[in-house]
């Protein structure tokens, strides 16, 4: 399954993405993610063993260049909920000036609410990861609680903030906001592209 947007494509994570995605996971930007594989072989084995309750994507530009990753995990069709996870822009320089991160989340939410007909997304973020918490709230998530000493990362325990969003909140608040952000953020890019005769 591939999800196509104006700027990005979400395509399935493959075993041969192991080296690339391990490099991203070992970068500074992934410091507050859960500990992952420590070798390409471990990463490849991890990718190969993903259960069918998960959808794992590589975020790539329309040119085909991979720039990040994003997953939907704990897909529960009985309770109609799932957890967006492992969101990481691994190649930030390649996405400057493009609303790549917002559009990637929008494509995932369209999958969740329009195609899979789920009614809720939820997740936890390390409490120290203030930028990610703001980001998730900007995209419609609401804070639902705090889980004390929930993660052990980099040698110490961290609280987690629990976040969630219902389908009606997505349609009323998050989707219009994401659409407006993508259009507004791309304003300058459109001018540059017009002057280059590419759009």
């Amino acid at each position: 399954m591939e999800l196509h947007g104006q700027y990005v494509v979400l395509r399935p994570l493959r075993v041969d993405d192991a080296e690339l995605t391990l490099g991203w996971r070992e970068g500074d930007r992934a410091t507050l993610l859960n500990r992952g594989a420590t070798s390409v072989a471990e990463q490849a084995a991890w990718i190969a063993s993903r259960p069918n309750t998960e959808l794992n994507f590589v975020i790539q530009l329309r040119s085909g260049q991979p720039v990040g990753m994003l997953s939907l995990v704990n897909i529960d069709e009985v309770n109609r909920r799932a957890e967006p996870a492992r969101f990481l822009i691994g190649d930030p320089d390649s996405v400057k000036g493009l609303p790549v991160a917002v559009e990637a989340m929008k494509l995932l939410y369209e999958l969740v609410f329009d195609q899979m007909k789920l009614q809720r997304v939820y997740g936890t973020v390390v409490a120290d990861n203030r930028l990610m918490i703001k980001w998730q709230k900007f995209l419609g998530m609401k804070e639902e609680g705090r889980l004390r000493r929930h993660y052990f990362i980099a040698g110490r325990f961290h609280d987690a903030v629990s976040l969630g969003m219902m389908e009606d909140e997505y349609r009323a608040i998050a989707l219009p906001r994401m659409n407006a952000f993508i259009e507004a953020a791309a304003g300058g890019t459109r001018i540059i592209r017009r002057s280059q005769g590419t759009s």
Binding site: V95, L131, K134, R177, A180, E183, A186, T189
Partner: protein, 99 residues
């Protein structure tokens, strides 16, 4: 009515909060010309959204202005309101005019 200086101060406060999270040798410049979103910007997506949410919160809490900086009014403009501190300031002044 909110003034240009007040809006600049709100945006700079948001940048200061962001700088507090960055390395001392990797600080965002405090200037009207500072790029916020675009190929020349030093901010990544999460940092940029942090600026937007902090500015919205300040306008709401400190100035009783319930504005969204990512709604229909921000779309389809010839230049992105997010390009620099100055374009964001002018956009805020425009949408809060008369408020």
């Amino acid at each position: 009515m909110i003034t240009r200086d007040v809006v600049d101060a709100i945006i700079f406060r948001a940048l200061e909060a962001l700088n507090a999270e960055r390395d001392p040798d990797d600080q965002i410049e405090m200037s009207p010309a500072t790029p916020l979103f675009g190929v020349d910007a030093a901010l990544d997506s999460l940092e940029f959204v942090s600026i937007i949410t902090d500015v919205e919160a300040s306008l709401n809490v400190d100035h009783d202005l319930d504005v969204s900086l990512a709604d229909d009014r921000a779309m389809s403009r010839p230049q992105s309101p997010y390009a620099t501190v100055e374009t964001l300031r002018e956009y805020i002044l425009e949408i809060t005019e008369g408020a």
